[in-house]
Every structure is written in C-alpha cells, then in structure tokens.
Symmetry: C2
Subunit: 223 residues, 2 copies
C-alpha cells in the first residue's frame, strides 16, 4: 500500500489540518460519513469517480489519524466506517465549505452528471439554513429509492442526516431521486408522495424550493 506522506512542513495550524484532511477526496469521504456510518460500497456509490484503490488509501489514512473508525464484526465481511469524535469535529469545516460552495461555486447540474439524493438534500438543508427566516421546528422524513433521510430545523439551524427519524415526522416524502430533483428545482411534483398535516405540507412546499430560489438569484449576478 503506497501511503500518501506529503507534508507541508509549516509550523501552522492550517497546514497541519490540511496534512490530515487536505488530500483529494478526503473531505468528501468525511462529508459522506458526517451523515452517518457507511460501508465501502456505500461510499463508492456516493463518491462516483473515485477508484477503489484511492478510497482504500484514504480510509487507511483517516484511520491512522483517528478521524475514522472501522467497525468489523467478527464472522461477517461487512465493514462499517464511521467518524470518531475527532472526525465529528470536522463538521464546522464541511459546513463552512458548504456555505461558501452554495454562495459562490454553485452550478446547475451538467448533462448526465451523477446526482445522489443525500447530496441534494444536504444542499437543500444548507440553502434553507442560509436564507432562513425559517426559525421553525420541523422534521421531514424522506424515503428516496428505499433509503431514509431526515431534514430537520431545530428552530435555529437546519441540518440533514441519513437514517430514519427518532421522533414522528411532520412531513413524509416518498419519491425516486429524479422525481425529488424535479420537486426541488420547482419543475413538477409528479411521482412525489407528500404526507402530513395540511399546514405542515404547505410549509414544506414553500421551503423545499429554497435551493432553486437561492441559485437562480445568484445565476443572474455571478460567474
């Protein structure tokens, strides 16, 4: 196993941090683990063009630095990768990158660009949080292609995660990724099942297109 040992050799906190998480793909692995533990193939799915060799290398490095832990159940082949508390502490970094990315680096999807529901929902949560005059407590349960996700506003911030809700959801949305995409982009609500009390559903419908709104507003002004 060739291990990436490139350093910066600066006596600097930023450089030290980037030696641990600054390699190509590394922060994207952390992004995907922040929403919940994943298996090797789950990560491959979400990371798209990464090669298994590179993913293996990144996971080993992250284990070495104590950012990721691998849960290997004896007798089973399945390995679940999860963030340690040290890794969880990278959430502010990812959030800051997401804020900047949404504000300055957004582009509408290219033709045939792979799109994962989890990343789409992250962008939605980030957009709502960014504009948020939406200081409400609300929990949305998404069931997309058989996987469960939650977007949640706690009255101060909006966040997302993978998995089923711990408490009853205000709104439950069932759809396939492409139908969800059309809903979020404000194109149509075909093939999207939305369940919940009428007022809650109404607020959901209002907020779910925040991402499209934010992006449209920027497209007119930025590069």
């Amino acid at each position: 196993m060739t291990r990436n040992v490139r350093t910066y050799d600066h006596f600097c906190v930023i450089a030290r941090a980037l030696e641990d998480v600054g390699d190509r793909w590394t922060l994207l692995v952390i992004r995907d683990l922040l929403s919940g533990a994943k298996r090797f193939t789950d990560l491959m799915d979400r990371l798209g063009a990464i090669t298994p060799k590179t993913l293996t290398q990144r996971l080993r490095e992250l284990e070495d630095t104590g950012i990721v832990a691998a849960d290997r159940t004896p007798g089973r082949r399945e390995v679940w990768y999860r963030l340690t508390p040290v890794g969880e502490d990278l959430r502010p970094v990812i959030d800051a990158l997401g804020w900047w990315g949404l504000k300055h680096a957004w582009r509408w999807p290219q033709e045939n660009e792979p799109m994962h529901a989890e990343h789409l929902l992250r962008a939605v949560a980030q957009a709502i949080d960014m504009v948020a005059d939406a200081h409400v407590t609300e929990l949305w349960h998404f069931r997309i292609d058989g996987a469960d996700y939650v977007i949640e506003g706690d009255g101060k911030h909006w966040s997302h995660r993978a998995g089923t809700p711990q408490v009853a959801a205000d709104v439950t949305i069932t759809a396939r990724t492409d139908a969800l995409k059309r809903l979020i982009f404000g194109e149509s609500d075909l093939d999207v099942e939305i369940e919940g009390a009428s007022a809650k559903v109404q607020r959901f419908r209002k907020l779910i297109t925040t991402l499209a709104t934010v992006v449209s507003a920027q497209e007119t002004s930025s590069r």
Copy 2:
C-alpha cells in the same frame, strides 16, 4: 500553462467548493492572503516548499474563479495579489480548519522546521480565541523582523492580520521570530521588547502563552 482541471462531477455544494479550493496548496495561499495582500515572493516565503510553477498555477486558477485579484500597477513590475470579496468569504473555512487543526492536528515543531511569524501569530490568536474566557478589547502590535502584525481581541473574538494598527496599540512587541517563538512557548523572554502600560503588559504576558498551554494539555491526551 498546464491547468489543473480535475473535477469531482458531483452535484454537491461541498464538491463544487473543493473543485475551486481543494487542490494542494490552494487553501494555504488563501490563508496567507486573508491576513493581507501579498506579492509573489511574499507568498513563496510563507509557503516554503511550493515551487514557483505551482504557485503561478494556483494564482491563475484563483484569478479564474474570482477568488483572487492581481493588482498590476502600470509601469511597475510589482504585482500585489489580494482576495476579492468572494475570497474573503473563505475566512470561515480557514477559521474552521484552524480550530480543528489546533484541537486535533497540532504537533510541536520538528527540528529545523521552517516557521513564519505570521503563522505563529495566527496560532496564538486562534488559541486565545478557542479557550477565551478572555472577553477583553485589546490590541497588540508585533514588529517581527521588520514586518508588522496585529493581534486583536474585540471583546468577542481574537484575530490576527498583517500590517500596522489603525489605532494606538495597548502593547507593542519587538523581536525576531526565534525570540518570539521562545516567548510564546513559555521558554524565555530574552531579546523580546515589550512596551505598554503595566496592566496591559501583564495581561499580554498571561495570554501569550495560551498556545503553549493548550498544546501541552492535548499532548498528554492525544496521539
């Protein structure tokens, strides 16, 4: 000029952001520009092991994405690189990395590891800000090897920047980098000139070793 055009092709705000700033060295260039505009050679000094080719390439990319602007005064060869407002918006990303780096990725300097006063002062400001029960308004003026820096607490946060203070400093410190290092590490105050009102100097002396304290506390517990 070979331009790095690697993308991730995810429909994801984090991936979009990292396509702009995720390349090796890029965030370190931004780190150094966040404390003030710099010339090519100023950046070379601070970045240490970067090659001029790579720095040129990074600066061009950052200009392309609108993160950096190059001020070329007609008739003069000097080029000053500075962050645009888009680039300034990356401050939360650098701050988050610094926070994590100080908390989890710190190491004492290696033998002969290059050390730049600007990075050392960043770490000091970050450390004071992190532990800060120090909610005071205070301005320290550092004169290190002929260059000026400011560390400032505004009552809520502590930050640093290059340049001279706009208002009168509470404490003025004059030293060479290695003497400053020894002061910060709590080893000695030899060859460090500290001027200011007695109470202010006392507080300075108390706070300046925060970095050493924070680090020592972690060394005993972490990797």
